[in-house]
């Protein structure tokens, strides 16, 4: 058994996959350095140095076989942070190289592919929920700020959505769990990685003077648009799982 250790990046993973083919490894697993714990003393370790050319060669080849949308699915699997993520992607790549004429991602009867399809479904649901449940709060310097805590690392997947939608206001979305964010300053929309965790203590004091008022209006609206005669708590929680409540203005 050979273990390939890579740096945790998307390009790193695809460099590793390139090297699986390059060195013709048969019995192999890929693991990020961060998650690596040596259990098998006799496993051989192969350290991967990320090389974009190698990664791109795999991705280009793949794109011919499974299309842009296929690549997007593999990206979703990558962002799922699932424990098996690297090896599922490796399995998909191997299958695709073996059957270049088919889109192997549609072979739902294969166990790895079915897992991939399930992960994609979960990730895209979380992505969709983030487009819905992000709540901006206007700060004194006219920035609209939102905190999120998604189950998967979906910030890269919602960048375009928010960039297209809020082109004429400054905004920032910050992932509390992964400690990085996305900032749009009316021109550029870039990720940022603060050295220290953002200090969100008393940040309500930084609210724009009108912020509280609009929050109150939204809460009144939310309460009044409910039809009491049709109360259905189970359905409500199914749609808005409780773990999101603390970030929702209407669930104060």
């Amino acid at each position: 058994m050979t273990t390939l250790l890579y740096d945790g990046s998307f390009d790193g993973l695809f460099t590793a996959i390139f090297e699986v083919f390059e060195y013709r490894y048969q019995d192999v697993e890929i693991c990020s350095k961060e998650n690596f714990q040596q259990e098998n003393m006799f496993a051989e370790i192969h350290e991967v140095i990320t090389q974009q050319e190698k990664s791109e060669r795999v991705l280009n080849k793949l794109e011919q076989n499974i299309g842009k949308s296929g690549i997007h699915q593999l990206l979703q699997v990558f962002l799922s942070e699932d424990q098996e993520m690297e090896n599922l992607i490796l399995s998909a790549v191997k299958q695709s190289i073996k059957h270049p004429e088919e889109n192997i991602l549609q072979n739902f009867a294969d166990n790895d592919i079915l897992k991939i399809s399930k992960i994609c479904k979960s990730v895209s649901r979380e992505r969709h929920r983030m487009t819905a449940f992000v709540r901006f709060e206007k700060l004194q310097d006219d920035i609209y700020f939102a905190k999120i805590d998604p189950d998967f690392n979906v910030l890269p997947l919602i960048r375009k959505h928010f960039k297209d939608r809020y082109a004429d206001q400054k905004w920032m979305i910050y992932d509390l769990r992964r400690h990085y964010g996305l900032l749009y300053d009316l021109e550029n929309c870039e990720f940022f990685y603060p050295d220290e965790k953002l200090d969100l203590n008393q940040y309500q004091q930084k609210f724009h003077e009108e912020e509280k008022k609009y929050q109150t209006l939204w809460q009144s609206y939310f309460t009044k648009t409910n039809i009491k005669e049709r109360k259905n708590t189970k359905l409500h929680i199914q749609h808005v799982p409780k773990r999101y409540w603390k970030y929702l203005t209407e669930k104060w």
Partner: protein, 418 residues
């Protein structure tokens, strides 16, 4: 701006608008050009009310003052309630401020009829126009057209709104006469015709002139109240079908009547909201829109009401056992869609996956089918022991017994009424 007053108005006018069930914000085709928002994405539900309905739009009335007296309506003139009216600016400001905070996909604006149809419609159009032209707002706008509004105003409305709708309210004409004496069907149909004509014209011109301004790009929808009069489900489905076909409707909504008034022409104030019936109507609607069923396959004169015990697709299958079993490996997509327990997505997956290998019941489960229903109707290449029940007189019981309906509780509640 006086926030306390706005808050009070918002409470009154959201409360009065909440019975309108249309909520969707899909089908918009506006790209953002550096302003605020876009409605090119398929709809997003930003939150859900405690009754489980989605909130994607700020749904309010411009005013609940009304000169009419429709008996089923809270805002009717004879009802003694608090009245309020927003100014155009107030609605615009609420929409923009909520949108900027990502609370909503846009605005759904309806209104009681004050003064006359045109005055009301003109005010609604002004809100939409201001949002589009002064604020460069590209979010979704759904305007409720006022029955009897003039053609010119309807045409103008369609330039700024993504969707327009006139509610049919009561499925039958006689029911409408009884419950909404000031309204007539023709006044409702005329604005629909104008919008339909405009959409067609837009499509034709668009082929020649690319810059033709958008005309109600998300189309029109309508809504019927179910259970306020004694219409049957066949009538309702037929009306819906008629509007899908002849008016190019995007959606027909069904709204189970919620008793709000004591009146001997209406169901009693203590009657239950017909939630299950409403759900079955939506299921039938989906069968017509996505599963290739025709209205008279779902119900006919011998059977004018939907089966409350089983969903309409299963009900159809049980009445057409001769069409089964369906061979999973070879049947065409159209027939796969008709198997109880198999949805649109699963049907698609089956058709892709079976190219790779012969499918068995485990695959079917993994692909997302409700196997406890589907298994009775499918012929697998490997054979299927459940097929022996297909000729069983008790098949219906067997299936119901083996599946848990999410409405079972409500259903037993209803049963005790008899």
């Amino acid at each position: 701006m006086n926030f306390d007053r706005i808050k009070e108005k918002l409470e009154i006018l959201a409360d009065a608008a909440k019975y309108d069930v249309s909520c969707s914000s899909s089908g918009g085709k506006r790209k953002n050009n550096g302003g605020l928002g876009d409605s090119s994405a398929s709809g997003i539900c930003h939150t859900y009310t405690e009754d489980g309905r989605c909130v994607s739009l700020l749904k309010i009335l411009l005013t609940n003052h009304c000169i009419y007296d429709c008996i089923y309506c809270i805002s009717r003139k004879s009802n003694d309630i608090k009245r309020a009216a927003f100014t155009v600016e107030e609605v615009v400001d609420l929409t923009i401020s909520f949108y900027r905070r990502n609370y909503i996909e846009g605005l759904f604006l309806s209104s009681g009829i004050f003064k006359d149809a045109d005055t009301t419609m003109e005010r609604l159009v002004r809100v939409a126009k201001k949002l589009r032209t002064e604020h460069n707002f590209n979010g979704y706008i759904h305007l409720k057209s006022i029955p009897g509004a003039s053609d010119d105003l309807m045409n103008e409305a369609a330039l700024y709104a993504d969707r327009l709708s006139v509610n049919l309210e009561i499925p039958t004409e006689s029911g409408l006469k009884l419950l909404a004496p000031d309204k007539n069907r023709e006044d409702m149909l005329q604005p629909m015709r104008i919008v339909q004509k405009g959409i067609q014209q837009y499509k034709d011109e668009k082929k020649i002139i690319r810059s033709t301004p958008k005309f109600a790009p998300a189309g029109q929808s309508t809504q019927m109240i179910v259970g306020a009069t004694n219409e049957n489900d066949l009538q309702i489905i037929k009306v819906a079908d008629h509007f899908y076909k002849n008016y190019g409707m995007k959606r027909v909504y069904y709204s189970g009547y919620i008793p709000v008034t004591v009146d001997n022409r209406l169901p009693s104030i203590t009657s239950e909201v017909p939630v299950l019936r409403e759900n079955r109507l939506y299921q039938s609607d989906w069968l017509m829109r996505f599963y290739g069923f025709k209205a008279d396959e779902i119900l006919d004169f011998n059977m004018p009401f939907l089966d409350l015990e089983v969903d309409p697709k299963l009900s159809w299958a049980l009445r057409h056992l001769d069409q089964f079993p369906v061979n999973l490996q070879t049947a065409d997509h159209k027939m796969i869609l008709r198997i109880p327990g198999i949805g649109v997505k699963t049907a698609q997956k089956i058709v892709s996956a079976r190219k790779f290998q012969v499918l068995n019941i485990d695959h079917l489960k993994k692909l997302g089918a409700a196997v406890n229903r589907a298994k009775f109707f499918i012929d697998f290449t490997y054979g299927n022991p459940f097929l022996k029940h297909l000729t069983d007189l008790n098949l219906r019981k067997l299936i119901i017994g083996g599946s848990q309906s999410k409405f079972q509780n409500q259903f037993s509640q209803q049963l005790t009424l008899f």
